[in-house]
Symmetry: C2
Subunit: 349 residues, 2 copies
């Protein structure tokens, strides 16, 4: 009943031809039983299916894809998987794509531009039906390749600038501005920015720019920046905050590039005896699942990752069906919690 499972040279994988031979029909009939079942007699179809089941036949999509017109791969290029920054996007994207029988091929550039080019090339070599990629800022060669591929390209997470084709994201500069304005409304005046800002993380740079612009507009002193190129864990936040307050004791609010870094910042402030939010405010970005559970709970910005994933899937399907390119702005929310609530605190969230 079970196929031979012996090690080594072993068993050749069954093909349509194996099935055809076993049932006594032509290869094409077997193929039809899969693709267009109602063109094959019920009884014959039954026998073919039985044979497939018995031999554990799995169609070879290399062959199918080469022959047929359309692929059902969607290439997904992210810049990070660490700390679930984009894991939730992939999760919902994949779930939504599954309904259209589209399969995700994942690549992770780890914020490395060379890797990005290499991985995009690698993904395109699988002749995907579409590509979804984090960000709207890519090396010129990457843009050229993606455009030349002649397939729908959906850029996620960010918007603005030169969109290749279609985009689903939000404006990171306005996130930074909202962070600044909230801090200012809470009476904070000496703003600082802390976190890891990689050279290739344009989104982080845009948020910082937005923050600085809003501070300038409000006639505040320059935002003090203390950043790193790498990492992004609580330990980094703790170190950066400690160093920051040593050189700039006047700081009364810290904006963090990520919640995870902010967790470390909060720890540093606790150790330094600075009261949050009374002496100093802390705001972050990302809506980590623990943000509401640290104490003081963390004010942060919540991007709707689930929605971005879902809308990206929608965009891909639309574009495959030749809907014209478009850009979707996804909303985000400022979640005010204790870490910036100097005024009467809101009901605990």
């Amino acid at each position: 009943m079970t196929a031979d499972l012996s090690e080594g040279a072993g068993r050749t994988v069954p093909t349509l031809a194996s099935i055809a031979e076993r049932v006594g029909v032509s290869v094409n009939t077997v193929s039809r039983a899969l693709r267009a079942p109602n063109t094959v007699r019920v009884e014959l179809r039954r026998r073919i299916n039985a044979a497939m089941e018995e031999l554990n036949y799995v169609p070879n999509r290399l062959a199918g894809g080469l022959s047929g017109t359309r692929s059902d791969i969607v290439g997904v290029v992210v810049t990070s998987l660490y700390y679930s920054e984009f894991a939730n996007i992939i999760d919902s994207l994949q779930l939504a794509l599954l309904e259209h029988d589209l399969q995700v091929m994942l690549a992770n550039t780890r914020y490395n531009a060379d890797q990005e080019l290499r991985l995009v090339r690698s993904i395109l070599s699988w002749r995907p039906a579409a590509v979804a990629i984090i960000g709207v800022d890519h090396p010129p060669k990457v843009v050229e390749l993606l455009k030349a591929a002649g397939i729908p390209i959906v850029e996620m997470w960010d918007t603005g600038g030169d969109v290749i084709d279609t985009a689903v994201g939000f404006d990171h500069a306005s996130v930074g501005a909202a962070q600044a304005n909230h801090l200012i409304a809470q009476g904070y005046r000496r703003l600082a920015f802390v976190g890891s800002v990689r050279e290739n993380d344009k989104r982080a740079q845009k948020r910082l720019s937005g923050l600085e612009a809003a501070a300038t507009k409000a006639s505040l002193p320059d935002v003090v920046k203390h950043t790193a190129q790498q990492g992004g864990n609580p330990e980094l936040g703790e170190r950066l905050a400690t160093e920051l307050l040593q050189s700039h004791p006047e700081i009364d609010a810290i904006a963090c590039n990520s919640d995870v870094v902010a967790f470390g910042v909060l720890r540093a402030l606790r150790k330094l005896g600075r009261r949050v939010p009374e002496d100093i405010g802390v705001i972050a970005f990302g809506d980590n699942e623990a943000a509401s559970c640290v104490s003081p709970s963390l004010t942060t910005v919540r991007p709707d990752r689930e929605r971005i994933g879902r809308l990206t899937a929608e965009a891909i399907v639309s574009r495959i069906n030749d809907v014209t390119p478009y850009t979707t702005l996804v909303e985000w929310g400022l979640i005010v919690r204790e870490s910036t609530s100097r005024m009467p605190p809101p009901s605990p969230s």
Copy 2:
């Protein structure tokens, strides 16, 4: 200079033949310039490469995979991407595979057995060089398909039972036992277990079993279980803990299935006025990045996800090179923090 980027029917994608024609050589020579460069004259090779660059040629791996012998896809099947449970494993696995020019194809079953079968089938249809999959407990048909595929299969995260081929993981029952024994050593006696335990999450079930067995061995009363089938966020933990202590006020220690749930449990205890760790201890599993940042900081178990990913990549490469199957036990650590430290607290971590 740039290719035609016009919408619609547009541009046909360049093939080896396009390059060959343009350079004036045979298709095979172009192919060789890619696969075995030193069998082609330097000057000719240069011209071929220039043509490829100019036309933005990207090899078609559907064709290559169909013709050639080996594939460079590795199928990766995980049960979840939410809350970065396995994102870090994928991250390090992918990084390590990249060094061997292996490409990850990702599938996420979301703890759904039907999905698992469907996705494994889908992945196998790409004729991957190997498959890495979370867990050692799969539906019989999945096991049959994986065995019949005749490729290396590496089961990750768990060990024990019937391993299909090769495994890289740890024993979850002993994690549960370690949790119980730590609680007992700290003087806790009335143990409870809280969290979401999905029907298909055998690992969670094993940890719970281990916890119960250790409690029984220490002649403690039965572990009180209060679990859900779905979810796994702080809100769930908060609700479950509140309900638990209402019906079982005698409980003096709560083991949580995940850190994220534990964050909610801590919040519930704070609201209920129960002191942690004095009145009640809390221990969890997962080593979330925020575990050291909540207060009280969370005692938890740290599985080495990065190592599992790396060793899985190693195992895949070894097995592809016909090393015999093996099982690697990956160490995990009990990270003792404030939430269970009744005795003189350790130095703050």
